[in-house]
């Protein structure tokens, strides 16, 4: 059911998640921080769930709490999915 994440698919899913929690799609770049996008810890939990549904990758509280930028999240998902 789930597929393996590559940098491109991980970025797509994370962008989709960011949009779902209300982040401005025009401001989403790899270097954008979640803080600058107004994405809070509950938003990250929701995005983690979307990632889990898509790639079967479980992101726990310890994984998510150190994420600063969109790029960090993409790299984490790819690494976890490998």
């Amino acid at each position: 059911m789930t597929t393996k994440a590559d940098p491109q698919s991980a970025e797509e899913v994370i962008r989709k998640g960011l949009e779902e929690v209300g982040a401005d799609p025009g401001r989403v770049t790899r270097d954008a921080t979640f803080e600058s996008l107004d994405v809070d810890s509950l938003d990250l939990v929701e995005i983690a769930q979307i990632v889990e549904d898509e790639f079967g990758v479980e992101l726990g509280g310890d994984d998510v709490k150190d994420l600063k930028t969109v790029g960090d999240a993409i790299d984490l998902v790819v690494a976890k999915s490998a």
Binding site: E20, L42, V45, Q49, I50
Partner: protein, 244 residues
Amino acid sequence: MSRAEGAALVTGASGGIGAATARALAADGWPVAVHFRSDPDGADEVVGSITETGGKAIAVRADLDSPEAADELIGRVEGNLGPALVLVNNAGRRADGLSPQIDDGDWCDVIETNLNAAFRLIRRSLGPMIRARFGRVVNVASVVGPRANPGQANYAASKAGLIGMTKTIAVEVARRGVTVNAVAPGLVETGLTADLPAGAFDGAIPARRPGTPTEIAACIAFLASDEASYVTGTVLTVDGGMSA
């Protein structure tokens, strides 16, 4: 009537407050999963009374003390009825005794069922509720907990814990349209209180009688309704004035 697409799960719904709540939620238009542990006949009767009146319901068995049960139970609800957007944590137990006489088993069993199992069900349900931007969690607490009741240290601790958990989770998820509340019944005529002598506490209750399961269920159904969308993190006391 329910507008969100999903289902309601009521734990401990083969009798008493849970059964009345399952019927009330079904009357409000929710497909209802009627959870039971040891009374399949009671659960079947509740399901039968709901389907007879045109509602949708299934009976689901689970031993909620098992850590895997929450995931398995919510998964079954999702598979059969849709996402559990209403969760009523009603399943509870008592093992009374004065504190020197409460052994580890009686302490842990009560905390496990009344508090830990409720938390596991909430944790598993919140993701889909948050994604749906709609969710209703109602925890059945008690007037015992915020207030003392000698002989029920374990029960009181579990119910006070439920209330603290209710308030905290309510604040965490409020901005997603998910509400988390508790009802705190006083003395209610159910299987859980059947061993108490009839009329023994009426003097302490301004209404001069115990409550009925349907009176508690009506309050739970309100907290689960669309109309209660701005009520969260609260405890609705339903006790005939006992703690006023």
